[in-house]
């Protein structure tokens, strides 16, 4: 018996795109958060961490409202960028970025904060511009945190269910990711297919995490 592989492929495509965008936004943001002294820093940190404690359905509900063509934000997006985020792959990407943000930002922010200030200062005194210090001194010295942040947000996106269900629904090849497919197959009493998807996710998640722990153990601190 063959199973439809598209939910699995869609899941990994979603996770890959989400993680790639997250890295571009999240790493500079984590650096900013580690160094900023603005007053509202606690509020910013609380907002970033919200997805850790909120039920995914809460976030999904508000995103669904905001993305809907009835809402001004949804209308604005449609008019300016031609984007319709409700029940679309792009919508899932946006939601996943928000939802996985703390998983990427937290380890990286902590790593930036743990680097001695004197490293940055030494590079400044040696005449290096800020971007070069960031790329050549700071980033290479937080590699383990970069790796765990990347993997955690990837794995977390793979495992997402509530948000996807709320704003993505169950459209084949669009929003029908593996976690939704499992739910769907169980509802139609198709346990064999559900078992297939669940098994693949189980094994892959384990392998990904195992790789991280092995690499982090080998890497000198």
């Amino acid at each position: 018996m063959t199973y439809d592989l598209s939910p699995l492929l869609l899941t990994f495509r979603l996770a890959a795109v989400t993680t790639a965008i997250l890295l571009c936004i999240g790493v500079p943001f984590a650096w900013w958060l580690a160094n900023t002294r603005i007053r509202i820093k606690p509020a910013v940190e609380a907002l970033v961490s919200m997805p850790l404690v909120l039920p995914p359905s809460v976030l999904g509900f508000y995103l669904l409202l905001a993305f809907s063509p009835e809402h001004w934000f949804g209308q604005w997006l449609d008019r300016v960028a031609g984007l319709r985020l409700a029940f679309s792959f792009e919508g899932l990407v946006v939601a996943s970025i928000i939802f996985s943000f703390p998983f990427l930002v937290h380890p990286i922010q902590a790593a930036f904060q743990n680097l001695p200030r004197s490293l940055t200062e030494a590079a400044q005194i040696l005449g290096k511009p800020q971007w070069q210090i960031f790329l050549r001194v700071l980033l290479p010295n937080i590699k383990p945190a970069l790796l765990s942040g990347t993997v955690l947000s990837f794995a977390h996106t793979v495992g997402e269910f509530g948000v996807v269900l709320m704003i993505g629904g169950n459209l084949p090849n669009q929003t029908r990711v593996a976690s939704i497919a499992i739910y769907d197959e169980v509802e139609s009493l198709n346990y064999a297919a559900a078992n297939f998807y669940a098994g693949v996710l189980f094994v892959l998640s384990f392998l990904i995490l195992l790789t991280v722990y092995v690499i982090n153990r080998k890497a000198p601190k």
């Binding site: 490293l119 200062e121 030494a122 400044q124 005194i125 005449g127 001194v137 000198p220």
Partner: protein, 298 residues
């Protein structure tokens, strides 16, 4: 020629105080900032490097204005061309020894300078090692070489040798002096080690609560107030033991235990744990050279 005046409010262990220093340093001079911790020595150095900004002040190095708060000029550390040795060395852990030196080169500088410094500091064999695998003294040499690789106009040393043991420290002192003379560098070292100041600096400024209390040649500054021909040691009383007409004191001086006698009226006020000063007049002390065997072997 360096002219600086730095004014900055500091929060010390004993409340707030004002760092208020004016100094003038000739080109090629080696100056020491001396004093206990928390008097603003490091802050002064950081202001010179541009890592901290004073509320008021000015800094002119070889005719270039680096800082002038009245005119709103404050060059970034990147624009100042100083060499700085941090207390924690601040070597980049992701780069090899050679990588650290190459990173320090200014734009357009020849890589020959790295080769030269590696040879000069005897780092050739360590050049492909990462800083984490080096000993304290080795890291120190790399940090010094890196500071020099950027061809600084002013070398700032923030207690760079305090974490090293005496023998390595003395060797590094020699190297710093040699390099400072060879490159004709103006250098400022922060130190609270009298021996170090004696050895390295031609002039010492004693900082107290943010101000320069005295300055001059180390030999004069440090001997002022201490009568020559007398030895003075501070120590801690360990035990008091009454003998017939005298009292025998055991005193810990440095890490040596000394036994001295005192008159009963002198000893009356003393308790174990008290800090005391021992003064002894020595007309003709015996002098032995230390570590001769070790030096012959080298």
């Amino acid at each position: 020629m360096i002219q600086a005046s730095i004014n900055k409010r500091l929060h010390g262990a004993n409340g707030e105080f004002q760092l208020e220093v004016n100094l003038e340093i000739a080109e090629g001079e080696f100056v020491a900032l001396f004093g206990p911790s928390g008097v603003g020595k490091t802050t002064l150095l950081r202001c010179l490097a541009g890592l901290e900004q004073p509320e008021q002040g000015g800094l002119i190095v070889n005719g270039e204005t680096w800082l002038d708060t009245a005119a709103g000029i404050n060059l970034l550390p990147q624009q100042r061309r100083v060499g700085y040795m941090f207390q924690d060395y601040a070597l980049f852990p992701n780069m090899t020894v050679r990588g650290n030196l190459e990173f320090a080169l200014r734009k357009g500088a020849s890589k020959k300078r790295v080769e030269e410094l590696l040879a000069l500091m005897e780092l050739g064999e360590l050049q492909h090692r990462k800083p984490d695998t080096l000993s304290g003294g080795q890291k120190q040499r790399v940090a010094l070489a890196r500071a020099l690789a950027s061809a600084p106009r002013l070398l700032l040393l923030d207690e760079p040798f305090s974490a090293l043991d005496a023998e390595i420290r003395s060797r590094l002192h020699d190297e710093v002096l040699r390099l400072q003379r060879q490159f004709g560098l103006t250098a400022i070292i922060v130190s609270h080690d009298v021996g170090e100041v004696y050895k390295l600096a031609r002039r010492v400024m004693v900082l107290e609560a943010g101000r320069i209390k005295t300055q001059g040649v180390p030999a004069e500054v440090f001997s002022a107030g201490q009568t020559s021909g007398k030895f003075r040691f501070t120590g801690e009383v360990l035990t008091l033991e009454a003998m017939d007409v005298m009292v025998s004191l055991t005193v810990l001086v440095g890490n040596q235990i000394v036994r001295v006698v005192a008159m009963p009226d002198e000893a009356e006020a003393l308790r174990p744990g008290d800090r005391v000063v021992l003064v002894s007049k020595a007309f003709n002390p015996m002098v032995f050279k230390l570590g001769q065997d070790q030096e012959n072997r080298e």
